[in-house]
Symmetry: D2
Subunit: 381 residues, 4 copies
């Protein structure tokens, strides 16, 4: 076997999420960055590539050039897949073109601007049979997988109640007045989509909830807020949830929760017990029980289900964090791709896919629709 | 000055909340228990009184007997006030009769079964000019008062977002099947009122929210749950909140949150900072800021406003708990009553009153009405 | 039965520990304060008594007067016991005189200034057969009793390692320069004894260690610090411990640990598991295991031994604190005394006694001796 | 510039620490693994290399072969440095040979078996002028660097008291009976050196203490334990510390602290304030103050010194962990090496060096000597 070759779209020097993708792809030693179209300007793309120790000829002016040029390279040299790390409005086109030209895709979320684009990507993935990973990184934490496994195994009994929140404070003040335009796309409906905070972080909360519980949200009542002066897109939201099995819950997300850094937290209550997990302290899974004391699970610690234990790279007590969970999405994707390149098949993928991306868009759409209707109950497709 | 004399309604031996009232009244050495109608049976009332070291002649068969008999005693002997610690449906009658016979009142919450009863008590209190304390104990924690003072002083800026929850798990299983009928009244609409969990604990969440923020809830959308088999009253609820100043929020409460003990928690976000407080660890007030590190305040610790510092009985680092906060309601009431007995006046009462009781009923009514209307937005009176 | 009658020595208005004793004695409704010699001046004592609603004739000028006068009162009126809440150097004389005149004693710690005095009190207690409670309050927390029970039941296996610390910061600056002389006695060897911080808080750490483990400290090597300018008594200390069963450990205490409030913490490691407890968050007992996840016990929560469950006054999730644990010492003492007054006997006392007081003096002496010998190993008597 | 080329000694597939070195070197995209002598058997080394996607010709039988063969390769191909990830007794020889053949070195700790070897490596490094990084990874956490910066800037005033502990439980049972011999070298004095746990983890505690405080330990009194049956080397220890400025402290370390995972924690007290840091929750620095509330700093959060802020790879609230801190040692080393390859110089190295390695051996020697002398005070060289 050989290391996989990654080409990158977006993620020029200074980009937060591009750097995250590169570090995540680098941790496990399975992937080499071999080329990129890192920026909207050819010159900046070249500078970024140089800083990443890439040869000049593989720093491309744009993703179209990259896809076409790489396709011309010998099989033993050309990139295997592209990683898309651009703003939301620049996900769909490179993803589609890459797939249509035979390249697998890793894509940031939310997957597209609209449901129609999302459905189209689903079709293309199904037609081409290529791999598509969506970087819903939080579901790859060992303690989140332990939570999912315990829930699936019925440890908590039938699920009744959910509380999920994703709270940030960085848009408390008017980012619109920042000198740097780096985040301007986030508040521009044309570039961000129908949803603001709901797309950026609400989709993580939705994905985490459905991932752990294995239950679909069937309807929701969403009261979105736009607290920043002149802001068109939501920067805050409160949602009532109803799940397919009768469970109820609340979701709260915000980018104007002053002082919060990146507080994604979830509590799930079943008939026999409950769980609690906090992204900012991800190496603990707190569980409570009707008849036993509170138990706290840790990565690679005692009492884990195998699927959770497998995710840890290092022994118990050695904390892993955001990058490692992100890396586990890449590792899952890379394992799958290596198997396929070796001519083998894999039953199921252990990473989020194009269907998670479509689901995210369905969620955004339903919430925005509910909100525009004074938080009326709205069904998810 | 002399110690105040308390008569008790309800709270026979074995009662949780009656014992809490007695211990709370005893901590600060300002109040003596002198008589009681502790139980629905005269014999049980007498036994309870004996266990509490009371003389037999002041253990009464019922509250009517107690109020009338005590009224006949000389001024220097008779009780000054009654403490009502019975189930919800037995608050209104003794409160009204006590007031009408010249006794001040301390009453447990929710104050009455209906808004009409609540409004009537407001009238009687206003007509008689007697004192009426409602034991919303959680607002008397030093760190809750610090939270209120910081909010009132504008430390957090204009409030934008609220998250409040009150989670218990003790009704996860069918308490209806318990051998002991002690808690049966809680699931009986005739004895508990329109609300189940919302009356028992939701009103605490409502009171805490309005107390700290100084803001009124103007409308709400409530989705209540009845998860226990055959349960008529709610045992769970999720509510969207809108506040008078435009802030939004969620409230979640439950008595089927398996494994939770008594998790009342609140987070409040303003334009400049935010606060977080947990009843189960009440000696910490966590604050977050746009430009400064997280700061944690402690009772009698550094950086407190005077009104918070005044509430502590012991030095920083010596935890106070549930009973002490409960006792602070009694202490505030006792201070006020002593002033009045000494012929002085006090500007404002530092304890919850009959108006908090009325507010609680308004909240219950609005939530139950919203819920019966599929969580439609409903205004609070 | 009747309520017990307490006379108090020391604890005038403004005293921290006197007020603690009164509140602790008041919580459970078993004890009435009936008289006191509250201060070194007769006038101040009278004022304190008045503020405590006592009749003037039972506010005494000094403890000698109180003991002699109370002895003359009829049996149905006179105090049953005295509570000694004075500085260290004023424990011995009132304790001895009270016992010799037939009064039981509750005494603050450290019990006396010297081992000789401590041994003398042991003799007097043994000769008179009267009760003597020492207020080592921390051992009465439900989670400390759970820790002791688990250790005694072998849940953790043979104990191997101990870490105990008691850290305060209030003497970081020169309290010697304070305007108020209230704490001056603490830094005066004539009034405080051989030890400074070691007597004030080190004895709590020693008592907690031997209480939970059931093991005696057999030798120690103590390196005491005197960081405050011109301070004669220790304000800090680090000690190596060796226990009777071969376990080893460290103790660290300080009153110059800047920023610490009242951080008494202990960790105990056995062959099969370990425990951790923090006084500032006393309602959690953290346990760790070779083969199971971390388990956290809570007062009145799941999985407790009966002796721990019995100590809680209120349901799980309703935090109790410093005063309640202090009150449990009084409650244990009061139960014992009521039994005796009723002519019954009790197998063993559930509160610290004169022997704990003697042990504390042995510990202070050994540590001071070791320190004066450059931390040489020194045996405890 | 180009990526650096790393050759590895030890760290075959299945090795914990070898894998850590590879992942740490891979995160920041500055280093490629190009060759290795991964195992004591040539065949196993080849298999490990294959699993790491290396060409067969660069999987060597032993480090001697690797160093000599790589030296023959063209400058543009040969490795730049070796990473030594073998057991303790196999650090000295490859480090020395690599340096003498012109290769820079990254080495795991403790650096050597004896002080003499350590001093010899210091000489060789000084003679060759090559770089030598020691992977004391814990000092590269952003919050540890913040702690060092705050201390150096006098925020806490003069340091008075230190508490440091490193507690693990994995040797609680007889690892000697494990079927797998993987860890046998740790309990074999010939392979581990004079110290057991003190070398493995005690040196981390020593390094962390001197790093943050900037103070030297001048003397210590060490009471080591050997609790595992038949164990020759220490598996536990308690140490009194005296620092060059008069501060005092305790160190406690253990590998028989049942239930502990990897609990490295430190508390440092100055005249004006204090700090607390826990490796298992590394993204918090807790500080306490004489006159202000407790403040908690977070990576990339508010109020950091620049040297701490620089270390974070991702925004506040996105936890980094063990691997990232380890990677920061590699990153510091790689930056330095790239500068040198570019012909530039750097004032000071921002990573632990051969001198830290020598210091660790001095510490081990002093502690073992003190222990063999019944914990007598022993000076560090």
């Amino acid at each position: 076997m050989r290391k996989l070759r990654m080409g990158m779209v977006g993620g020029g020097i200074g980009s937060f999420i591009g750097d995250v993708h590169r570090k995540a792809a680098g941790i496990d030693g399975m992937i080499d960055l071999v080329c990129g179209a890192f920026s909207s300007s050819a010159e900046k793309s070249r500078q970024s590539g140089k800083a990443l120790y890439l040869p000049e000829e593989r720093c491309y002016a744009d993703f179209e050039e990259m896809i076409l040029a790489e396709k011309q390279l010998p099989l033993g040299e050309r990139m295997d897949f592209i990683a898309i790390t651009t703003p939301n409005y620049l996900h769909y086109a490179p993803a589609k073109m890459a797939l249509e030209n035979g390249f697998h895709v890793v894509c940031d979320k939310p997957m597209t601007l609209s449901i129609e684009q999302a459905q189209d990507l689903v079709s293309v993935v199904e037609q081409t049979g290529l791999l598509f990973a969506l970087t819903h990184n939080y579901t790859a934490h060992p303690m989140v997988v332990q939570a999912k496994a315990m829930t699936a195994n019925g440890d908590f009994g039938k699920i009744r109640k959910i509380q999920v929140q994703y709270l940030q404070g960085w848009m408390s003040s008017a980012v619109e007045n920042n000198e740097s335009p780096k985040d301007f796309w986030r508040i521009d409906p044309a570039k961000s989509g129908l949803g603001g905070a709901i797309g950026d972080i609400g989709t993580h909360a939705e994905n985490l909830t459905e991932f752990i519980t294995g239950l679909r949200i069937t309807e929701l009542a969403a009261d979105l807020g736009r607290f920043g002066q002149g802001r068109i897109l939501d920067d805050d939201g409160n949602i009532l949830l109803r799940m397919e099995n009768g469970a109820k819950g609340t979701m709260s997300f915000s980018q104007i929760a002053a002082g919060e850094e990146n507080n994604l937290s979830i509590r799930i209550y079943g008939e026999k017990g409950s769980l609690e997990w906090h992204q900012e302290n991800p190496n603990e899974l707190i569980t409570r029980w009707l008849d036993e004391p509170k138990k706290i699970f840790t990565p690679n610690g005692n009492g884990l289900y195998p699927e959770a234990a497998l995710l840890s790279r290092i022994p118990a007590g050695h904390p892993e964090g955001y990058l490692e969970a992100f890396a586990s999405v890449y590792r899952g994707f890379a394992h799958h791709l290596m198997l396929i390149l070796a001519g083998e098949t894999m039953g199921s993928s252990h990473y989020p896919t194009v269907y998670d991306g479509l689901r995210g868009l369905q969620f955004i759409n339903a919430a925005v629709k509910s909100d525009s209707n004074n938080a009326a109950w709205t069904k998810l497709e």
